[in-house]
Symmetry: C2
Subunit: 206 residues, 2 copies
């Protein structure tokens, strides 16, 4: 039941898995605790379902953003970073927080089942960092760059809260610039130059 998963994501995100009782979650959708165990065999199964939905919806969100992004690599990089910020700060934020904060509360078998999904997420970022390196924008080690970038993005809710797309895009610019060790303005200029004059492999604005 999807309402149950939604409520669980919200409560677990805010209170933590261990402090959120099955009664709390069931009550949030006007059920009693007994009824929850009809839909999920155990509380752990519910946690797995929450995280699975978080990853799947997050992937869809990211892929959609990439499909709409203009062609140049810098533009696509910015789109990806902005999309990830959207996941972390937007409607999926509770799912994402549960994913990152409660991942190691999962049973080992559950982690194995979810691993392929989360690898896809990492690969999206990897591919773009490779393009940046190939085009001479990124000079540092790609793995290390990803290891700095991803936790940094995931941690943004601890020091800022950005619900609207505009401010998310602004933050994304600052972060992209930082990855390339550039002033924000320099990155913006580079990115926009790319859009107007660049090759534009696929300008998919329908």
């Amino acid at each position: 039941m999807d309402e149950l998963i939604d409520a669980a994501s919200r409560l677990i995100s805010l209170q933590g898995y261990d402090r959120t009782s099955v009664r709390d979650i069931a009550q949030a959708v006007n059920l009693t605790s007994g009824s929850m165990f009809y839909h999920f065999k155990t509380k752990d199964d519910l946690l797995e379902a929450v995280i699975r939905k978080g990853i799947i919806d997050g992937l869809a969100f990211m892929n959609q953003a990439l499909d709409l992004a203009p062609g140049g690599t810098l533009n696509r990089f910015h789109a990806l970073v902005a999309a990830h910020i959207g996941v972390v700060q937007g409607e999926l934020r509770h799912f994402h927080r549960v994913w990152t904060r409660e991942w190691d509360r999962l049973q080992p078998e559950a982690r194995l089942r979810l691993r392929p999904l989360s690898e896809q997420y990492r690969e999206l970022m990897n591919a773009l960092l490779h393009s940046l390196a190939a085009e001479g924008h990124l000079h540092s080690d790609i793995e290390t760059a990803r290891h700095l970038l991803l936790p940094g993005l995931n941690w943004t809710p601890t020091w800022t809260s950005l619900k609207d797309k505009a401010s998310q895009a602004t933050l994304a610019e600052k972060i992209c610039a930082t990855v390339l060790n550039l002033p924000v303005d320099a990155f913006s200029d580079l990115m926009h130059a790319e859009t107007t004059t660049g090759p534009g492999h696929r300008r998919t604005i329908d």
Copy 2:
């Protein structure tokens, strides 16, 4: 009682605060649960004591590393990053993990009491990023750089485990290079050039 704090840091780090019972912790130092409440009024007080010790010892470790570091800014930057990796991966790792993972389980008043301590930690990194910018190595926004760097360092235990100082220093080089968007070799060269020919504001090797 310090043994109690040590045992608590280890168990809470491995199992999480909520899953670690007072009985578990007391048993680890051959006490019964009742005795723990002689030393700490509540379980929450014990958590605060663990995190306080983690921050204080971490600060001491960082300051000591900086005192021993050679003079140049790049060298001091590397020393700071290596020291933080040392905190996160070395003997203080359990304390540090509790600090970062259970911080928001603290009562609001406890967070207020500890805030000044954790600010000191952040300021160490801030000061060095400012120096890097002043000397023309760092071009990006300093706040943003710190917001990428710190979570990235704190998250390293999720993808690598480095107990010895040598491999910690190697990782530190990769990360410093990434912050400056340089290949590792380029950063190493820059750093060593600075040591042998640089101004060396204070070469404090006693």
